[in-house]
């Protein structure tokens, strides 16, 4: 049973989103990190990169696989979690806290409504 905090939003591709004003912090869920196994590398986006909802903009690598992470919403990447460069395993151990991936300044807050809430996502991540 994976951990699905109630106060976050989710996507069907197993990303989570925490909104603070118009800045969204993004990561991948506990379910996703468990499926991927020990992460060895995170290809972070460049600060300033503009993304559309659904764009692949991050790659997380385990030993045997490379998985794309999709932007849950459109906007501009304003901050990335540099700690992941040295310690990609933070995504495994703390996928909702220290393992956050980046922050996006939302260009269309209306997109948030299309995301899943924790109970809907829980059904996917059972």
């Amino acid at each position: 049973m994976s951990n699905v905090p109630a106060n976050l939003k989710y996507t069907e591709q197993h990303e989570w989103l925490k909104l603070d004003g118009d800045v969204a912090t993004i990561g991948i869920t506990d379910y996703a990190q468990g499926a991927l196994g020990d992460l060895v590398f995170v290809e972070l986006p460049v600060k300033g990169k503009k993304v559309k909802a659904g764009d692949s903009f991050v790659v997380v690598e385990s030993v045997k696989a490379a998985s794309e992470v999709y932007a849950p919403i459109s906007g501009e990447v304003i901050e990335v979690n540099e700690a992941l460069v040295k310690s990609p395993e933070l995504i495994n151990s703390a996928s909702y806290e220290g393992g956050w991936i980046c922050k996006i300044k939302a260009s269309d807050k209306g997109e948030i409504a299309k995301l899943l809430d924790s109970s809907s996502y829980q059904k996917l991540a059972a």
């Binding site: 060895v40 590398f41 290809e43 690598e61 385990s62 030993v63 045997k64 696989a65 490379a66």
Partner: protein
């Protein structure tokens, strides 16, 4: 047939166990049109005696380098290979093993690859090296593509005299991409890389400071190509480079009519994840014992598929091992000595040819290869020398001839070449210079 262990009884028993009457039943899915009614029109099986005879007959029609004076280079060099090298690479455990995907039972291969990578990194002055490439030309093409990925820029710039075949291979690799140009000018803001061969195709070692500055200023990556790796025993390592790649055939690998050879690839740490080819890394096993394993496979085709850094699967494993063994025999002392010997042979060749009237030697500098300017057509000259059992070098345009000398070149070889050329030059000018 000596390679087929199954006996008729085995086949009968196994067909029965598999629940079929004949092997034909395994081929029922094959369309009738594709099932051959009889044997393909090719000779039937033969024993070792006949096969060896047939191949020996073919081999005898070739003129091996050892049978006379030999001065061909141009990216493939006639060097000595110590008996130990060939003996060791024929050990079953090296010859008949597979890519070391199961590291627990492949530490032999993996340790040797790690030693190879260390040697290449040290030779080139780069941070990291991979487990080898097909050859120098494809390694260069892959380096150019890597530079495009890293810089996000389109064009490939080439400095001076790059081996013409290397240029051809780059053109082959990029032909289906749009908006890529190969240019012979200094790098600009659209240049992904600046490719410099040293020593260049005419044998001149290149000074890299100014070229490094051009790359730093324009943002292009500096790719140094070396196709006589022995030169690194006498010339300084190209530490100015972002990527160093080329051909290592000179050490431990027979000329073998052009293949298999041994490409090498090394670069700065920053570019690690964009490197093509296999990489062997160090780790530990469950008991904490140092071990080696193929790593960072997420760059490669079997994981990234269409997003891979390259489609490469195989490296040149057995010849990377041959190189490692040969370099181990040479070592710090022997490698530098061998390089210096090669240079001295080339100096002796140059000095002797300089005495031949009407011959010019345009090279200001060289390692073991240089251009000779003849007063007659070089291609015609090579033909005539060949008829006398002398492989004189590579004819370029007009009277230009590219000659190489190695530790295998004897004083007698040099004198023979010089004397024959003396006679030919004496009557040259009577005929047309092409």
């Amino acid at each position: 047939m000596r390679y087929l262990p199954l006996t008729p009884k085995d086949r009968t028993d196994m067909l029965k166990a598999a629940g079929v009457k004949s092997v034909d039943e395994f081929y029922t899915m094959v369309p009738a049109a594709a099932k051959l009614p009889k044997l393909i029109d090719l000779p039937l099986h033969q024993g070792e005696i006949e096969v060896e005879r047939a191949l020996t007959r073919m081999a005898a029609k070739n003129h091996p380098a050892g049978s006379g004076p030999f001065f061909l280079g141009a990216g493939c060099y006639n060097h000595h290979i110590p008996a130990t090298v060939d003996h060791l690479i024929q050990r079953s455990e090296f010859l008949t093993s597979y890519t070391p995907y199961q590291p627990e039972i492949s530490q032999g291969t993996l340790t040797a690859i790690f030693e190879f990578q260390t040697m290449i990194a040290n030779l080139t002055g780069m941070d990291i090296a991979n487990a080898s490439m097909y050859d120098g030309a494809t390694a260069t093409a892959e380096a150019a593509l890597m530079a495009r990925r890293i810089t996000g820029r389109a064009n490939i710039h080439i400095h001076g005299q790059l081996h013409p075949q290397y240029r051809e291979v780059i053109e082959t690799y990029i032909q289906s991409y749009e908006g890529v140009a190969v240019k012979n000018s200094a790098p600009d803001e659209n240049a992904a890389c600046f490719i410099v061969q040293t020593p260049d195709f005419y044998g001149e070692p290149q000074k890299l400071d100014a070229l490094r500055k051009q790359c730093t200023d324009s943002g292009a990556l500096l790719i140094i190509v070396i196709n006589e790796i022995l030169s690194l025993g006498l010339l300084p390592p190209p530490v100015e480079a972002d990527i160093v790649c080329g051909e290592a055939q000179s050490i431990g690998v027979p000329m073998s009519f052009g293949g298999p050879h041994l490409g090498f690839f090394a670069c700065k740490q920053d570019y690690l994840r964009q490197m093509p080819g296999r990489l062997c890394g160090e780790t530990v096993d469950k008991d904490g014992r140092r071990s080696f394993v193929l790593t960072l496979s997420t760059r490669e085709q079997h994981i990234r598929r269409e997003k891979a850094t390259s489609n490469i699967c195989t490296n040149q494993g057995l010849f990377a091992l041959a190189f490692t063994i040969h370099m181990s025999l040479l070592g710090e002392i022997g490698f530098k000595k061998l390089a210096r010997l090669n240079h001295e042979k080339a100096c002796a060749l140059a000095d002797r040819l300089a005495k031949v009237k009407k011959i010019k030697l345009p090279n200001k500098t060289f390692f073991n290869e240089f251009v000779v300017e003849l007063p007659m057509n070089a291609a015609e000259t090579v033909k005539k020398l060949t008829a006398q059992g002398i492989i004189a070098g590579l004819p370029l345009e007009g009277g230009k001839l590219l000659v190489a000398a190695t530790e295998m070149t004897t004083e007698s070889d040099i004198n023979t070449l010089a004397e024959v050329l003396e006679n030919m030059c004496a009557v040259a000018g009577v005929k047309e210079v092409a």
